[in-house]
Amino acid sequence: MSENQDQTHAQGGLSKVPLSATPLKRKDFTSDQEVRWCPGCGDYAILSAVQGLLPELGIARENTVVISGIGCSSRFPYYLNSYGMHSIHGRALTIATGLAITRPDLAIMVITGDGDALSIGGNHLIHALRRNVNITILLFNNRIYGLTKGQFSPTSEVGKITKSSPAGSLDTPVNAVSLALGAEATFVARSIDADRAHLTSVLRAAFEHRGSSLVEIYQNCPIFNDGAWDALTAPDSEGVIRLEAGQPVLASGGRLGVVQASDGHLELAPVSEVGLEKVIVHDPTATDPTRAFALSRLTDSGLMRRSPIGIFRKVDRPCYDDLSREQIATAQGRVSPDLHGKTSQLQALLAGDDTWAVS
């Protein structure tokens, strides 16, 4: 990687997106479609956070694109006044990848669900992450299939009783953050639908990251999985563990701290017992993903009585689409990138290097 290239990559996720000529407001991003989620659905809060954030990013509205798969969450594009595609189940990332490679001037968001991204779309997710395509991925995790009316999902706890698992589901749940880290992701974060401020800040960081940013959002589905995240806020839970760069990682209002066991895994311990200096300090920019992975294991996927939120990992790595365009630029050298001007080059190629004349 040349110095010069590194500089390019170091630019933020939106650095090639044109800015809006005039300041935009929330309502500029509100489409004329009636929002059709169930009353109380966590999706409303997420939509609202995005509609609030986008004008702040300063980018041109017409250069914002949302691609979604299929699921309740995937109806999102209809409600955002931008370009959008409500595609097919599990495949939004493939479409977004082609778009990102060819269009550096767009801010591309993918909206997906726990079923869409982790079940049918799991492969596209891990490949997008390892390629580090410049896309911001919002994974609405409600631990259920909402749109198809309540089957267990890859994030449902073992033993979950649903229409499709009347005797309890048997599948160990996927931890989206662990999976993403195992798939070489450069930006992995988690937030919660109800925490508007946190969600907005994480999303802002995700947009600013150049490469694939995965944001898992704990989302409540009051109809088919109400209270799936309630244990996190139950009084006797260890609850949400906030990850903030440069800060000690604490839980239960600072009573508990995250400490490292001798084999590198992390545990919660009373700060009063272990001392604050033993509590690890969060650094999402560490090159090696081990610590971020260790943090991801603090989530007790079954009970969901504790889970870290915030940015687990944020490291710089060239992104696929930039590299692809650089290969083109290199190959083109000083040749005009205007295709219409390419006729003579095409003529040479049509001929190849072994021709003969018939007269």
Binding site: S87, G98, T102, R103, Q347, L350, W356
Partner: protein
């Protein structure tokens, strides 16, 4: 001094490592350069490099060249070069009685003979001489001697045997060696010893023909009379890649290829991967679905989105292609067909994806389908697929096949400046009364919808896989709207203009019409010629646009008393013709992983023609 012959079929066959593809390819190019018409047919071993000397490892390359226009790679061989016993075993049945058989006797070892399933050495039995002109020489020694000065390792020496063979056969047909020498100079410029050894081996082969009295006669095949112009030799894969590239230039849209490797389509990915100077971005995806998804995403953004695959991959892509149908976005899908079902015979030819292409999606999902008829024609077909996709906003499937992809023929190089311009006609302004954008407000004539790219101010809109309201394109569950939209989508594709079909019947008296599509054009044309040479009238109709079909096709079919449809499948196109035109189109099919056999087809057509003409 040399005897004039009109057309010759030569096949080079040997082990995968023997360089037969290179040798045959070069011999074909030589012939083409000297003004012969040529058609070539490579045949690779199935999949993996089989053990050296085994039957499974035999690789061959056939060249048909002539002093007149030819259309197939030929069937009965005039010359067979068999570099080892396995090659002999596999290919001898194709050599015509009296044909020339050149073998490398040094390869007829006990081990190799057993590998090939020979109990005894056929070279020493004296039976081959009875039927063929056997030229068995110790190629290994003669080549080794010739290249001795260059100090190559044993293995490298053995790799020059093919040039000896090329030199010998070139002498036999009085070819001009200069271009091949130039070509070797360039190819091995970086490795002077290899270059010189190959040149020496080539020379030695030529001299062997010249100096020994092995051959009683030497031959000459005069140049054919071709349209004046500059020519090159081209394979279907390369022609397809160039067609796509030309469409990119003609439309001013960058080409994006999303692909997942699969035989025999991978070469398109390889070819286009080299075209970065044209702004071509190739994306090797994690699977076929991601490949077509990325292509559709690129299309959504205003690129020329293409995906390439073969049968099993097409099956995987259908759900995404259907999204392209619903969103009415351009998308070019190239299916290089191979023998199925399932994995089938991945390196062999077939044309059995036609119904899959037309109907292999859920719901009513109309799509234009185009099939090229020869390797060079892939250029035109690919260009046309792009033009239709971009201007009519629709996915288009091009049905190529293994034979077209790997085969090659001379091609008059088109004038790049004369390529028709493709105007994508992007929407840039609102199209509703209130300054909004209705993405499904169609052109009343063509029914094409407007196409607005992300980044265009004020035209923000959302599309997707759900049914949409006529005009506005909002999600709609209205029953009547759905009925309307299903019919509109069908009508939209049906209205795409395609050239009329041609009733080709020089006699003007034909009662039997033979109808074909795709790569069988060559075999059918050759068979039709033979029928006509025998003085019998026969009409030929060849279809390149399989959907929509030419408007005059029904009338043409009804003009015939009998309609025969030869295909390398169980009658898929015949099914379509019967359903659409209610004519008794009769299927004639041979599904053997290779082009239809001209002699067999000729025989069949003769008997049919006799029946309809005389009864």
């Amino acid at each position: 001094m040399a005897e004039q012959v009109s057309r010759v079929v030569v096949r080079f066959a040997g082990d995968s490592g023997d360089g037969m593809q290179l040798t045959g390819g070069r011999f074909g190019t030589e012939a083409a350069r000297q003004g012969n018409d040529i058609v070539t047919l490579p045949d690779f071993p199935a999949e993996i490099r089989a053990p050296q000397g085994s039957i499974a490892g035999v690789s061959s390359f056939q060249v048909h060249f002539a002093d007149r226009d030819i259309v197939t790679p030929g069937e009965d061989l005039d010359v067979l070069v068999a570099m080892n016993p396995a090659a002999l075993k596999v290919h001898l049945p194709s050599l015509r009685r009296g044909g020339i058989l050149i073998t490398d006797s040094s390869e007829f070892t006990k081990r190799n003979l057993t590998h090939a399933g020979y109990q005894t050495d056929p070279l020493t039995e004296g039976v081959l001489e009875a039927s063929y002109q056997l030229v068995s020489l110790d190629l290994t020694s003669v080549t080794a001697e010739a290249v001795a000065p260059f100090g190559l390792k044993r293995k490298a020496v053995a790799r020059t045997r093919n040039m000896f063979a090329l030199g010998l056969v070139s002498w036999l047909y009085s070819r001009d060696m200069a271009p091949t020498r130039d070509w070797l100079q360039t190819r091995f410029a970086a490795q002077p010893e290899i270059r010189d050894a190959n040149l020496a081996a080539l020379e030695a082969g030529w001299n062997y023909g010249e100096n020994t009295e092995t051959f009683a006669v030497r031959y000459e095949v005069a140049p054919t009379t071709q349209a004046p112009g500059r020519y090159r030799q081209i394979s279907g894969s390369r022609a397809t890649a160039l067609g796509l590239l030309a469409a990119s230039v003609a439309s001013g849209l960058p080409l994006f290829l999303g692909a997942y490797p699969i035989t025999p389509a991978s070469d398109l990915l390889h070819e286009l991967g080299k075209r970065k100077a044209f702004g071509v971005q190739t994306f090797q995806a994690e699977d076929e679905i991601a490949a077509v998804g990325a292509a559709l995403g690129a299309s959504f953004g205003g690129a020329l989105g293409v995906t390439t695959t073969s049968g099993p991959g097409l099956a995987l892509k259908q759900e995404m292609i259907n999204l392209a149908v619903m969103t009415e976005l351009p998308l070019v899908v190239i299916d290089v067909q191979r023998a199925g079902p399932s994995t089938g015979m991945p390196t062999k030819n077939e044309q059995a994806d036609l119904l899959q292409a037309l109907w292999g999606r859920n719901g009513e999902s109309p799509i234009p389908v185009i099939a090229p008829n020869s390797p060079a024609d892939c250029f035109r077909a690919a260009f046309e697929a792009c033009r239709i996709a971009l201007t009519h906003r629709t996915p288009v499937i091009m049905l190529s096949d293994a034979y077209l992809a790997n085969g090659s023929e001379p091609w008059m190089i088109p004038d790049a400046t004369a390529l028709p311009v493709i105007d994508p006609g992007f929407a840039t302004l609102p199209n509703t009364e209130d300054g909004g954008f209705a993405p499904y407000r169609r052109d009343p004539l063509t029914l094409d919808r407007p196409w607005a790219l992300p980044g265009t101010p004020d035209l923000q809109h959302r599309i997707g896989g759900l049914e949409k309201s006529d005009g506005m394109g909002a999600v709609s569950y209205d029953g009547n709207n759905h009925d309307t939209m299903v019919r509109l989508r069908a009508d939209h594709i049906a209205r795409i203009p395609v050239s009329d079909a041609v009733w080709d019947d020089p006699s003007g008296m034909a009662k039997l019409a033979v109808v074909g599509w795709g790569s069988t054009w060559g075999s059918i044309t050759a068979a039709v010629r033979r029928v006509r040479e025998l003085g019998l009238p026969i009409a030929q109709i060849h279809i390149r646009n399989l959907n929509p079909l030419p408007a005059n096709l029904g009338a043409l079919l009804r003009r015939a008393d009998r309609v025969i449809v030869p295909e390398i499948n169980l009658g898929q196109f015949a099914t379509i013709l019967r359903a659409k035109y209610l004519v008794d189109a009769r299927s004639w099919s041979r599904i053997r992983g290779m082009p239809l056999t001209v002699s067999e087809l000729t025989e069949y057509l003769l008997s049919e023609v006799e029946e309809v003409q005389h009864v």
